[in-house]
């Protein structure tokens, strides 16, 4: 088992090293095979590990594989160790499976790229870091993985480094997540100082005994960790980098900015839920921020023209749902939604990639249309993804996970009606914007003729992800509809049961019906506006304040401008006026001195023979003198 765990992390890491060293000499075919193969082997290892885990479940509920003692100084001892329990198992399986599918897709999708090998190298680095993050037994190892995914994200967003937009977006992403990372590091330091350990189960156990619930210390630690999670998961207020990150290649957006990295924050909070339970104020903040983000992002997604940006805001919104669940104490629901979201969001991005490719790089949805006849498999995949996103009842996985979240939020003591209402409104918005996307892209009149769909390696991942989006929901069905509880039983040891106020079965069914109706209303509105009477929307939007609202929504409600004016501009101004400050004198003086010295010494290099002989003579004299007088 230990070997399997290290293989899971080590295979992609090894692939990264192998691919990054020889560079372009590797050749496209070999890079593709190594890059995709490593992650697929990792997925197989993960499957084997899970089989072994389920079959020989130890009493403690987890496996630990320690490699070596990383730090042993003062009171702090950190082991470099991996830990496999139900939660990390779920994460590992999702990450490796989705990553393998996306990499398989990339083999064909990124073909012809100049730096093909580099792409696969960085993707493998990312997968290795993400796996290290979720398998970490220790907060410091988690942080190592956290930084690794941040780095890989930067490298991959800026993959087309000759494009200024991409480079700026990469820099923006890194800077904003860096703010979160700093908070996370401070939180880790706080925990280390106050609790004396960084091993996750030790931390949770010690915190439960030494810190009081509602105290200042757990609140501080939880808030710092939360801030870190906000950065990585692109939630309010650190959400502005995600839409711009769509400048990277589509597989990157699919893997990193939809399925995995942005959910690292969710994982962190779920993993450290024991700590958060000690700080109810922090949990409330989590759900408030989650609710605010899901509404804001949902509204913004409505106004986007770029298909990828729309999906980015959609991701932001769905993660808002996960945060909402986390804040209400529904850890299991949040992770379950993560699983289903990973599948259908990756599916949507891959399909968007196919669409963009067939329309020769066109990303504006208003310029698309009528593709459903020409790209049938793609259309089917997109439809399934959209339905799952919008939580169409019974048949899609998204329905079950979103329903779980909403019912938990409604019934949890830490939840409440207001939060649940936000969730319902969010469901309406989600259905609205997702079907808007479907209708704009695949229905209506065709404006650009698409190239035909790609081959097997493009379509197979789409098909598999689509199947996942349909079936994974059946792992956990609500109490009214079959009461399957496979998922929550599996993770019960780690995540516990969500606490809830007792409600009757009819109340639960009513909740489900409310959610379903919100979705269906959204679908109907989208159908009316975008299929039946497209002219209606034009009239609606012609009104001036509607147009202004739309513009504001399209710009993500002005957060970018706010940050730019409040933070970026003053900082740039400071840097500019500080360009020639007095501390630059010292290097200049040193340089000048060196120059003068060199000039002086170069006079001895006059090429004259007698000069050298004179030097020898005087030197000999000097040496003899030293010999005499010492």
């Amino acid at each position: 088992m230990n070997l399997l765990l290290w293989l899971i992390v080590g295979l992609p890491l090894g692939a990264f090293v192998v691919l990054i060293l020889p560079g372009r000499a590797m050749g496209d075919r070999r890079s593709g095979i190594i890059g995709t193969g490593a992650v697929m082997l990792s997925a197989i290892a993960a499957a084997m590990a899970s089989v072994q885990f389920l079959r020989t479940m130890p009493t403690s509920g987890h496996f630990t594989a320690t490699a070596w003692q990383w730090i042993a100084s003062g009171g702090l001892a950190v082991q470099f160790a991996l830990r496999l329990d139900a939660l990390s198992l779920v994460m590992v399986l999702v990450v490796t499976i989705v990553a393998s599918l996306i990499l398989l897709y990339s083999v064909r999708y990124m073909a012809g790229e100049e730096e093909y090998c580099r792409f696969f190298a960085f993707m493998n680095l990312f997968v290795a870091s993400m796996l290290l993050l979720v398998l970490a037994d220790d907060l410091l190892v988690l942080y190592l993985g956290w930084e690794g995914v941040g780095l890989s994200s930067y490298l991959l967003i800026g993959f087309w480094y000759r494009d200024e937009g991409a480079v700026l977006a990469a820099r923006k992403a890194f800077t904003i997540t860096r703010i979160g990372d700093t908070a996370l590091l401070l939180g880790i330091v706080l925990i280390a100082v106050r609790l004396g350990t960084l091993r996750i189960d030790n931390v949770l156990a010690t915190a439960a005994t030494t810190w009081q619930s509602g105290g200042a210390l757990p609140l501080a630690a939880a808030l710092l960790l939360l801030f870190g999670a906000l950065g990585k998961s692109a939630q309010l207020p650190l959400q502005t980098w995600l839409p711009d990150a769509m400048a990277g290649p589509t597989p990157v957006s699919a893997l990193i900015h939809a399925a995995t990295m942005v959910t690292a924050g969710v994982y962190l909070i779920a993993r450290m839920h024991g700590l958060f339970e000690l700080a109810p104020l922090a949990m409330r903040l989590v759900s408030i921020l989650g609710a605010a983000t899901l509404l804001l992002a949902g509204a913004a997604a409505l106004a986007q023209r770029d298909i990828k940006r729309s999906l980015a805001y959609s991701t932001m919104s769905q993660i808002g749902y996960m945060f909402l669940a986390l804040g209400a104490g529904a850890w299991t629901a949040a992770i379950f939604h993560f699983v289903t979201h990973a599948f259908f969001k990756a599916l949507l991005f891959l399909v968007a990639g196919v669409v963009i490719h067939s329309l020769h790089g066109e990303r504006d949805m208003h310029k698309m249309g009528g593709l459903r006849t020409k790209l049938p498999v793609t259309f089917a995949g997109f439809t399934i993804g959209i339905c799952s996103l919008a939580a169409i009842p019974v048949v899609t996985a998204g329905f079950y996970s979103k329903d779980l979240i909403l019912s938990c939020v409604a019934t949890a003591p830490a939840g409440g009606t207001l939060l649940w209402t936000c969730g319902i409104v969010g469901a309406f918005l989600t259905a609205l914007y997702s079907f808007r996307m479907l209708f704009l892209v695949f229905f209506g009149e065709r404006k650009i003729d698409p190239a035909p769909e790609g081959g097997l390696s493009i379509l197979l991942p789409i098909v598999i992800l689509a199947l996942g989006s349909l079936t994974l929901g059946f792992l956990e069905t609500p109490k009214g509809l079959g009461s399957v509880a496979l998922f929550s039983n599996a993770v019960k040891d780690v995540l516990g049961e969500p606490s809830s106020i007792p409600v009757s079965l009819q109340f639960r069914i009513a909740l489900v019906l409310f959610a379903v109706s919100a979705t269906l209303i959204g679908f109907l509105v989208a159908w009316m506006v975008y299929v039946r009477k497209p002219t209606l929307i034009k009239g609606f939007l012609a009104l001036p304040h509607h147009r202004a609202a739309l513009a504001l929504s399209a710009r993500g409600f002005g957060f970018d401008d706010l940050y730019s004016a409040a933070l970026v501009r003053p900082f740039s101004w400071l840097a500019k006026i500080n360009k020639t400050d007095f501390t630059l004198v010292y290097p200049a003086v040193i340089a000048r001195l060196a120059e003068a010295g060199a000039l002086l010494l170069s006079l001895t290099q006059n090429g004259k023979l007698r000069f050298s002989v004179m030097g020898i003579a005087f030197g000999a004299g000097l040496l003899i003198a030293i010999g005499i007088f010492s």
């Binding site: 004179m614 003579a617 005087f618 000999a620 004299g621 003899i624 003198a625 005499i628």
Partner: protein, 178 residues
């Protein structure tokens, strides 16, 4: 006080000084031959007659003659003498004089620290020298032979006249056959 020794020493020093200060290269060489002769006398007084003979034969007889050949080949006649004078203003002697006196002073200082150092003994017979040379230091002989061979070959190559080079006019910008 060995009068002969003092006389020979004086002659050597004076003729060496003269050798380095002449404007006429030929005169300088001749003065140097005189110096070598005086030193040969000193060698004889020190009990090394064979070496004294060698000094005259090889040093004065072969090496200096080589110099003379070179001077003849270079045709350093009248204009060269004037040029030589031009190159040697009195001021040019200051630096060398300082350096020389400095080193001389140091050497004498070292000598004076271990005074007196003894007297030279009897003649060391050439037979003895020969035996030592060819029995104990034979490898030196071999090396010297190889060195002379190298010098021979080098000089032969360097002395060759290349057609291409002979045509070039106006102060050497190309020394690539060197």
């Amino acid at each position: 006080m060995n009068v002969l020794f003092l006389l020979a020493a004086g002659a050597a020093v004076v003729s060496s000084l003269a050798a380095i200060t002449r404007s006429n290269v030929l005169h300088a060489i001749l003065y140097l031959i005189v110096s070598f002769a005086s030193i040969a006398v000193i060698f004889y007084l020190l009990g090394a007659p064979f070496i004294a003979a060698l000094e005259i034969i090889t040093y004065a007889g072969a090496i200096m003659v080589l110099f003379l050949f070179a001077v003849m080949l270079l045709n350093l006649g009248g204009s060269a003498i004037d040029q030589e004078r031009q190159w040697q203003p009195l001021a040019a002697w200051i630096g060398p004089a300082i350096a020389g006196l400095l080193i001389l002073g140091e050497l004498l200082y070292i000598l004076m620290r271990h005074w007196p150092v003894g007297k030279s003994g009897t003649i060391v017979p050439s037979v003895e020298v020969g035996r030592t040379l060819f029995l104990r230091y034979f490898i030196g002989v071999e090396l010297a032979a190889m060195l002379l061979l190298a010098a021979l070959l080098g000089a032969g190559r360097l002395g060759r006249r290349d057609r291409t080079l002979a045509v070039k006019q106006g102060g050497g910008h190309d020394a690539d056959s060197l």
